[in-house]
């Protein structure tokens, strides 16, 4: 009875007053969605399972998360404020990203919820097409905005995590270690891409200046491979170091890298390379004028 009245009200409205329509219709929608909360939520959960989404989470976790997503969803439909949803989506992303939930899953479940709710609206208003149209006019933009917000928040959060990790790796990746007066060691571990090579150059040249280094040992035992760009960059770094008055010794060239460098024709004739780090350090000490340590380990002169 009440419902009929409301439908009548809505129908007597002038078409084209979409804003007024929405203002009137949205509370109606929200009331409907609240009323059938349990049923719709279950339907949604079933569809999530059918679609094999969120496999990384347990049934209880899914249930807890879907309940709060549902409530937030309806709340945003009601208030139209995406701020709260953004906040929630960020929290949610923070929780589920470490568990290996993928972007397509998050977008998938939000879209499933949108569909479930749309179906329920179809069912409710199927007798009255003009009204159904207006209901969907009110519902769709709001629902799409929500889907958008959740997806964007999720991706943002992921990118934030990735950036954070990149920063962490960057800080760890190229330590410049002073071992002795005027002697620096630069161990390179892991893949050397051009970004890292560039950063390595900056840190090394700055390190030469701060530590007043005369000799630098770059140990690339831990680098699995280099390409031509990186190799040339390395050569340039060696040259630049020499311009700053430091000589560079490269140690730990793996057989693979040695072959690569010669095959691609990088000019390494002026590079001072020594087999391993130990030999490199001995050579460095010789260059610095320390006595070459014999077997009994004499003190430096």
């Amino acid at each position: 009875m009440r419902e009929d009245n409301r439908s009548d009200d809505a129908r007597t409205d002038e078409p084209g007053h979409a804003d007024r329509d929405q203002i009137k219709l949205l509370p109606q929608l929200v009331a409907h969605l609240r009323e059938h909360r349990t049923k719709l939520r279950q339907e949604w959960a079933v569809r999530i399972q059918d679609a094999h989404l969120l496999l990384a989470m347990t049934a209880q976790e899914i249930s807890a998360e879907t309940t709060s997503v549902y409530d937030n969803y309806v709340e945003v439909l009601e208030t139209g404020s995406v701020g709260a949803l953004q906040h929630y989506a960020r929290d949610l992303s923070e929780r589920i990203i470490p568990r290996g939930v993928e972007t397509h899953e998050v977008v998938g479940i939000v879209l499933l919820l949108r569909d479930v709710l749309a179906r329920s609206l179809f069912e409710k208003y199927q007798g009255d097409f003009p009204l159904l149209n207006r209901v969907l006019d009110a519902y769709e933009p709001a629902a799409n905005r929500i889907a958008n917000t959740v997806a964007v928040s999720f991706v943002d959060e992921r990118e934030r995590v990735i950036r954070q990790q990149q920063d962490a790796i960057r800080e760890l990746s190229t330590p410049v270690l002073p071992v002795r007066e005027r002697l620096l060691i630069l161990p390179i571990i892991g893949v050397l891409d051009s970004d890292r090579a560039k950063q390595l150059t900056e840190q090394l040249l700055a390190g030469i200046r701060t530590h007043r280094a005369k000799v630098v040992v770059i140990d690339i035992t831990g680098a699995p491979d280099v390409d031509e760009t990186v190799a040339n960059h390395l050569v340039q770094t060696v040259d630049a170091s020499r311009l700053m008055g430091a000589s560079v010794i490269i140690t730990g060239l793996s057989p693979k890298i040695a072959q690569t460098l010669v095959t691609i024709g990088v000019d390494l004739s002026k590079m001072n390379t020594i087999g391993d780090l130990q030999g490199g350090l001995e050579e460095a000490e010789r260059l610095l004028g320390y006595a070459a340590p014999p077997e009994n380990g004499a003190t430096p002169s």
């Binding site: 040249l205 770094t237 170091s241 020499r242 311009l243 700053m244 008055g245």
Partner: protein
């Protein structure tokens, strides 16, 4: 020195000349610097030249080449040249622009440059009146 404002100061230090470049030089100024310096090597009978470029934040390819030229000309006039104070970012740019290490002796700073010259040409000889020196 024939230059107006002091873009470069060339000072005598024992048997070495210390040329400090204070500001970025354009090509003309660079050539004038080269001319002045080579002239002064003879005038002071310098055995070593230190060119301090610590104040420069840009060294283009022309300047790099001129520095290498100066080193070679100085060698012909009997003085060993060392360029000191190249900044990290400048060093890398110079290499990018095609400068190969080895074309030019370099050292970290003035102190290192002096040590390098001492090692290469021997410690400064006692100052003597030019006329008394046997040729």
């Amino acid at each position: 020195m024939s230059s107006g404002p002091a873009l470069v100061s060339i000072l005598r230090q024992g048997s070495y000349l210390v040329a400090s470049v204070h500001t970025a030089l354009d090509d003309t100024e660079m050539v004038r610097f080269q001319h002045d310096l080579i002239e002064q090597i003879g005038a002071h009978r310098a055995r070593g030249v230190i060119i301090d470029v610590a104040a420069l934040d840009v060294v283009d390819s022309f300047a790099s080449r001129t520095l290498a030229d100066i080193a070679e000309m100085a060698r012909l006039r009997g003085a060993l040249t060392v360029v000191v104070g190249i900044r990290p970012e400048v060093a890398f740019t110079m290499v990018r622009l095609g400068m190969r290490a080895g074309a030019l002796p370099t050292a970290l700073d003035l102190e290192e440059g002096l040590a390098f010259l001492d090692a290469q040409v021997g410690p400064a000889r006692p100052p003597a009146a030019p006329g008394l020196r046997p040729r």
